[in-house]
Symmetry: C2
Subunit: 361 residues, 2 copies
Amino acid sequence: MKVRMADKVEQFRTVWMEGLTVKIINQVKLPYEFEILDLKNYKETGEAIRNMNIRGAGAIGAAAGYAVAQAALEAPSQSYDACLKYIEEAADYIKSTRPTAQNLFYAVDRVLGMARSVKSILGAKLSAKKVAQQIADEDANACKSIGEHGEPLIKDGFKILTHCNAGWLAFVDYGSAISPIYTAKEKGKNVFVYVGETRPRLQGASLTAWELSQEGIEHKVIADNMSGWLMQLGKVDMVIVGADRIAANGDVANKIGTYEKAVLAKVNKVPFYVAAPTSTFDISCKTGRDITIEERSEGEVLYIKGYCSKTKSVEEVRITPEGSHALNYAFDVTPAKCITGIITEKGIIVAKKKSIEALLK
Amino acid sequence: MKVRMADKVEQFRTVWMEGLTVKIINQVKLPYEFEILDLKNYKETGEAIRNMNIRGAGAIGAAAGYAVAQAALEAPSQSYDACLKYIEEAADYIKSTRPTAQNLFYAVDRVLGMARSVKSILGAKLSAKKVAQQIADEDANACKSIGEHGEPLIKDGFKILTHCNAGWLAFVDYGSAISPIYTAKEKGKNVFVYVGETRPRLQGASLTAWELSQEGIEHKVIADNMSGWLMQLGKVDMVIVGADRIAANGDVANKIGTYEKAVLAKVNKVPFYVAAPTSTFDISCKTGRDITIEERSEGEVLYIKGYCSKTKSVEEVRITPEGSHALNYAFDVTPAKCITGIITEKGIIVAKKKSIEALLK
């Protein structure tokens, strides 16, 4: 997707590979600075995943696949066993960087499996790189298809609310929730986006607002408290959010606050869509109750990071009295009954119209 | 109410008068520093209101009444006319400091009216001070009564969600939404408070968390996005919020986000109470649609203030990309049908049980 430089507009993916180097947009520096990180070996790529220089399900998966490919290309060429041992150790290390990221495990296992199945040193190296590239391309293509399936839902002039960052920075390209918006814009429709800032980590205010600025899409940031009032005023035509995990019954785990927007949308008769690749479905979870919700450090609520013009750098400030504590649920579960439809790369699942099982076949 | 000093606990009101001086807790410095401001004359008191060193309906009203009393005491004593002219000019100035604050107008007019009705210089001066004190005491007493009426709703062990700051810092003492919690605590009940941080201005994270700390009430701050999920998990027994204005039909204008909490409470069958003195009712507004909702500067969303340990002072940081814009509705309207009851100093109004008209008689 587009990034606006001082004098031109360039096309970027969130993560890609050039020779032995994995390149990523450094998301830790956004939205204050645009920086490409060159990750020279699998350990550097693993560290970048661990430090959240790259985040978002699809983007992490692609980076992890590339990291295993790096390990394969770096691996010693004396013997096949030594080569494979090196790749396997690398795979274990990469899995340890974000131990709850499903896409990471999927990508690592797929690249490693390919390296194992090709019983020659050169074959293992080349096929690992090829599969890693396939994983990245599949992610980008799935997101592009989500855009195409979701686009007809957007009418010219629509004002769309989104939450968190489910744009191209969270995937290899295009994004999930934002992809239909990009496609609508490409087709000449006027769209306006309300960007929920998404406390505590502010992914909306920082990442989504940055993405939309790069793509020239009109938007305004709102405090998370404002979405209900905008719906009551009739100023929201549609909500689109991403998903972290979708249960077999269509319940959706996503960034904390998603459930609130879904209930408010239902009460105010605003269509509420979830957009996610089918890889997000976890049919081992029958319902949302089977999904474990992560509680994170209270520091994310007690402190906020932002750019300080006095020190000319990003600073962390405490917003609460010394000694006060906070709760920090990272995700919530939205019941399927609050969801108008789930936009996937294979089509739109509408409750009671097309079953999840039928679509996943 | 209580303030914990290094070596002792002291009792304070939010605003009071000693001789010619109005004293206030400087809310701009909270929660990072506790400071009493000495306001030597009506102009200093007016400036403190304008700069939001004191905020909250009841607290502003009391401060404004005291400011007119200061003007009366400062006024020239050569002639009654010169004295009254001085007070009237001061009253105009004080009204200009927060031109949308109803309680401010009420207090200024009441003190000025008394000064006008007593046709002697000394009488005007003394009666102005007396009425200003009455206004402050009435506010504190109303809030104390709200606490007594609301307390029986709170069962031992309740976990209560509140939003914004409707505690004693917003009034002269006790507060509205928090007053029943203080009374319950006094009566030996265990209570726990979820403090919604209340973006954009974070009155919950800063002021409410500070108040509850001073009073030794167990609490945790949550991001505004988390209240719905806590309700879905069954972890919230009750919601109590304050009100900025209440229409004749019981619709409530309050801090942005209140409407969201009310809808989520209704959907999750959690009792949702509004606590406010009857002076908050504006029966000239038939319904919530007649209440004008203020839009404030986008800077409150784009920037956040907090204590920076690096610079050892309060800093403002930007959380959005340069050039992004924000919407900033300061209040919203909660329909009466989402409200379980309104706790006032005269009793609790429960929809369809006791009419607002009957209670206001």
